[in-house]
């Protein structure tokens, strides 16, 4: 079974990678399995300087999901380049840098600095958990275009724009990204949510709101990817609630060319490896002979399925 997918800057041997922020820089997961099994790896967000993030608690549980407000804690782009990327390079897999910032300048500086060390940039204009920057770039098409254009200009590798689902019109945002020169899209980041603890009468998360991820959000992500796939020509990396190889197939059919697994790594540290191993069986059970064949399948005019119920 051919699991490989070719995307701008990324030659993936399989379409499955860990999502940004749920895998740090890989070291912790390397004790569980060989990281070279992964299609690629998306690193935790990089900002210009070290960031300490939000107060704790930073996570809360929800029905079939979780909230997080880590607040982009990371050691800063220089430290990532010197201390983290070399470890990942040893595993010979495509590396994607998640780039964040508070201002256009910061985005540009981080992207410029890191792009020559990685295979692609995932431009995070959608983090709902920081006071400045982050999500306002992800909800306003004009602001988005500006930051994307500048980052595309300085980056030596393709730029994938990570979209926020907290918008009225996801297609408009996707088109803005495409027009501004994005090589691909990454969908979706978390939905802004909140839980209140009746004991303390306060939000569970110190930051107040947090980003909702996990199986709960999968239908929203699938819907958005299905819409966006019809509107753009650049490829989509899909994510949100993936836990099984069937979920991967659902994303491929909706229009994703590759997928990322986030919060499910916390439930099961082997999840990426297990999903990759299961994927060929799942694809062939549903009549596919490669990953490429399944991409966008839900949009094909003619479908032949011999799977009848009796």
């Amino acid at each position: 079974m051919n699991l490989s997918v070719k995307l701008p800057g990324l030659n993936l041997k399989n379409p499955v990678m860990p999502a940004s922020g749920c895998f740090a820089f890989g070291k912790e997961f390397a004790q569980f399995y060989d990281l070279s099994k992964l299609g690629a790896v998306i690193m935790k967000a990089a900002t210009k300087e070290q960031r300490f993030g939000n107060g704790t608690p930073r996570v809360a549980e929800t029905a079939s999901g979780m909230l997080n407000a880590i607040g982009l804690q990371n050691p800063g782009v220089e430290s990532i380049i010197s201390d983290e990327i070399p470890f990942l390079k040893n595993h010979h897999l495509p590396i994607i840098a998640n780039v964040a910032g508070s201002t256009v300048e910061e985005y540009v500086e981080v992207a410029e600095r890191i792009s020559s060390y990685v295979d692609a940039i995932e431009l995070n204009i959608s983090c709902p958990n920081v006071k400045e920057g982050g999500v306002q770039f992800g909800t306003d098409p004009a602001l988005a275009k500006e930051v994307i254009r500048h980052v595309v200009d300085v980056s030596v590798v393709p730029v994938y724009v990570k979209l926020s689902p907290n918008v009225t019109d996801i297609v408009e945002m996707a088109l803005a990204a495409e027009e501004a020169g994005a090589s691909g899209l990454s969908m979706i980041n978390t939905l802004t949510g909140m839980r209140i603890d009746p004991k303390t009468r306060r939000p569970v998360i110190a930051n107040g709101t947090g980003g909702l991820s996990g199986a709960a959000i999968k239908p929203i992500s699938i819907r958005m990817i299905h819409q966006v796939y019809q509107a753009v020509t650049i490829p989509i990396i899909g994510m949100g609630g993936i836990e099984t190889a069937e979920d991967v197939l659902e994303y491929l059919l909706a229009g994703a060319s590759a997928v990322a697994i986030g919060s499910a790594n916390f439930k099961n540290p082997f999840i990426c490896k297990e999903v990759i191993e299961e994927l060929p069986r799942t694809l062939s059970r549903y009549g596919f002979s490669s990953v490429e064949q399944a991409i966008g399948g839900a949009h094909d005019e003619e479908v032949e399925t011999s799977l009848l119920r009796s």
């Binding site: 749920c22 569980f32 993030g53 608690p57 930073r58 549980e61 079939s64 880590i70 916390f266 099961n268």
Partner: protein, 252 residues
């Protein structure tokens, strides 16, 4: 660290809302120090639940956990039966460095559901020739557990908030009763208690086991950080801790 389906050998109530769980599996061989924890998956809940290892026996491949029902997850856990399997990730983090404590005497200070990890800690200390005195605080008589076990290891002072057992008050109220000369204390309990303890014992070498809400439990998500006084500025409780030297972390 391993992810293993361990077998439930024993599951019984030991105090009000407090249950003891004995699990069997290979993972026990990986336990380095008392005070490490395991991360338990409970069906129907998205996040794992961290629970300290209260005792362990590599020869028998068993470990004991003691947990209190605090919410829906621990409540669901009480329904799991002897003979069933439990999905356990661990052992996680850094425990109490008992082998590095070279002293005649050490003080154990545990509050409520912070008591369990101190049991194997006290046992290890005693094995290493360190005498232990323990202060164990509970809300009320019905919440107390492991008292006889601790008494078998040394002197024990019990406090309860309502005075229904031992001295009335908090663990710090019992500090003056400890006449033994000790240089080290090892403590686990709610953060407010840890702070009170550390404030009371500024001249002693202290080890604190901390709690925070966790995502991954393995160091990858940065959910469980605590401010630290080193250059890095933070520690992750799940992997750099849960046990820290008292002066390493900023308690607030």
């Amino acid at each position: 660290m391993k992810n293993e389906c361990m077998t439930i050998l024993k599951h019984e109530k030991v105090a009000r809302d407090t249950h003891l769980l004995v699990l069997e599996g290979n993972l026990v061989h990986d336990i380095m120090d008392p005070g490490q924890f395991v991360h338990i998956r409970i069906d129907g809940f998205y996040l794992r639940r961290p629970v300290s290892i209260a005792d362990y026996d590599p020869a028998k491949e068993t470990m004991t956990l003691i947990y209190k029902v605090m919410g829906d997850g621990t409540k669901a856990l009480t329904n799991r039966r002897v003979g069933e399997q439990l999905d356990v990730l661990g052992p996680g983090g850094q425990g109490f460095p008992t082998s590095q404590i070279h002293a005649d005497h050490a003080l154990i200070i545990g509050g409520g559901i912070g008591v369990p990890p101190l049991y194997s800690t006290a046992k290890k200390l005693k094995e290493n020739g360190v005498a232990v005195t323990s202060i164990l605080g509970f809300r009320s008589r019905e919440d107390a557990f492991l008292l006889d076990e601790f008494r078998a290891l040394g002197e024990v002072h019990v406090t309860t908030e309502d005075g229904s057992l031992g001295r009335s008050g908090r663990v710090t109220d019992a500090l003056p009763c400890v006449k033994k000369d000790y240089q080290h204390y090892l403590s686990c309990g709610p953060t407010v208690m840890l702070k009170a303890v550390a404030d009371h014992l500024p001249d002693k070498e202290g080890y604190l086991s901390m709690e925070e809400r966790m995502g991954c439990g393995i160091g990858a998500c940065f959910a469980c950080v605590v401010e630290s006084k080193d250059e890095k500025g933070y520690k992750r409780i799940c992997c750099d801790g849960p046990v820290f030297k008292a002066e390493e972390v900023v308690l607030s």
